[in-house]
């Protein structure tokens, strides 16, 4: 079995990329083998899954940066639980573009690094930073026989609304040049305030602009979801509540990516 790659992204900060990719990794790992990859120097996914916030010290020279530069992910994989592994990131990821240039690496650099472990997992879930950069483009440029997908995060704001077409453009670019089978799995509404008046308008606009791309599941803003970053998953008494919207999302994601051509428009 080869891993399906799912990259979470949007070039707008704070749309729940790290939270959603972390929870998705956790939920998928209940039945399948998952490798989560942090491609953001903020290391939020790393902290989220390990509970470790001193990422520069703890993961010094043991991150995705070294995995990419050395062209082999294996030495940098750390175990989170039985089915869940992680390749962490820390602030030094900022040096990636420069190091790639020095080492003559192209945007398919993650591809080579992951090749040796591609068959060890069912899923590779990747968190990206909110920017058009190597850290974002490299995951999208990573091909997998089993399929490579992007989840576009959207928080219902005007800023994020304008970031959607730009992110779709990045997906197109990666698809054209490096990863011909890349697909947009969908646009995920997250951090949605139950009472915000503009929700309906945004939903309509996105449905009209990008037919069939919106996930049916909408992740509402929840205090218990936010607290996951503090409480962690293990022994968390409000876990069920915190994951309420993510359970149906992961189900939907699995369904979408198991279809050969999940999306009409892409």
């Amino acid at each position: 079995m080869t891993a399906k790659i799912v990259t979470f992204g949007i070039s707008k900060g704070g749309c729940s990329k790290s939270t959603s990719s972390g929870i998705t990794s956790y939920l998928l790992s209940k039945d399948e083998r998952v490798l989560a990859i942090d491609m953001d120097g903020q290391g939020n996914l790393t902290s989220f899954l390990t509970g470790e916030y001193d990422i520069c010290t703890v993961f010094e020279e043991r991150t995705i940066l070294e995995a990419i530069i050395n062209g082999d992910a294996r030495p940098y994989i750390i175990k989170i639980n039985k089915n869940l592994d992680l390749i962490p990131a820390n602030d030094f990821l900022a040096t990636l573009p420069r190091k790639m240039f020095e080492n003559h690496l192209k945007l398919d650099a993650l591809q080579s690094a992951l090749e040796p472990v591609m068959d060890d997992y069912d899923w590779i879930i990747i968190d990206t930073p909110p920017a058009l950069s190597e850290q974002t483009v490299i995951p999208l440029s990573t091909y997998s026989e089993a399929g490579s997908y992007a989840v576009v995060m959207f928080d219902g704001s005007m800023f994020a609304y304008y970031a959607i077409p730009k992110f779709l453009e990045i997906i197109e670019g990666a698809k054209e040049r490096y990863n011909p089978t890349l697909e947009t799995a969908g646009i995920l509404f997250s951090l949605i305030d139950a009472r915000a008046k503009e929700n309906e308008v945004m939903i309509e606009a996105v449905e009209e602009d990008y037919p069939n791309l919106k996930f049916d599941t909408i992740i509402k803003r929840k205090a218990s979801t936010r607290r996951l970053a503090i409480e962690g998953f293990d022994g968390n008494s409000e876990l069920r509540n915190a994951l309420e919207y993510y359970v149906p999302f992961v189900k939907e994601l699995k369904k979408r990516v198991s279809q050969k051509q999940p999306q009409g428009s892409n």
Binding site: K166, E169, E172
Partner: protein
């Protein structure tokens, strides 16, 4: 339809995403680039040095500013002077410039020059600010700093706070 799309694609304005991908299409594998790369490294190291200096100086600057803030409440008839004649931290003279560039060009790591200026800002009495600016206007870039430095140096020598040069 597809011909039309094709045309549309071709006249489409280049965007950031395309520019990003294009930047990876150029061939970086030839030797001239490796050479260039190395030189850039050296230049970068030099830059790092400058930046380090700057960081240190920034700290000094902050302290100076803090003090100014404190005294400002009383001395609010001062003129704020931001002396940007010396923004470039390494302000070496021509001989040293030459030495510095020679080391850079021959691949040696250039050493920090002691003769650098520290960028700082402070409050001046308005009458002094006016006359200093007038004098500086007659001179060239850097003369204002020279004047201030000389003035303070003379005073501090007189006070015995520093050794005579």
């Amino acid at each position: 339809m597809s011909a039309k799309n094709n045309l549309k694609d071709r006249i489409k304005k280049p965007n950031a995403t395309q520019a990003f991908f294009n930047s990876y299409e150029t061939n970086t594998d030839d030797d001239s680039n490796i050479e260039k790369n190395k030189n850039e490294d050296i230049a970068n190291d030099a830059n790092k040095k400058v930046n380090n200096n700057k960081a240190e100086n920034d700290i000094e600057l902050k302290n100076v500013n803090n003090n100014i803030e404190k005294t400002n409440a009383i001395n609010n008839d001062k003129t704020y002077v931001n002396d940007n004649n010396v923004v470039n931290i390494i302000d070496v003279d021509h001989v040293e410039d030459d030495e510095y560039l020679r080391e850079l060009a021959t691949g040696k790591k250039p050493i920090k020059k002691k003769n650098k200026k520290v960028f700082t800002s402070f409050y001046m009495d308005p009458d002094l600010a006016v006359i200093v600016d007038k004098i500086a206007a007659r001179g060239e870039k850097g003369d204002k700093s020279k004047l201030i430095n000389l003035g303070i140096r003379k005073l501090l020598e007189e006070y015995g706070a520093i050794e005579k040069k």
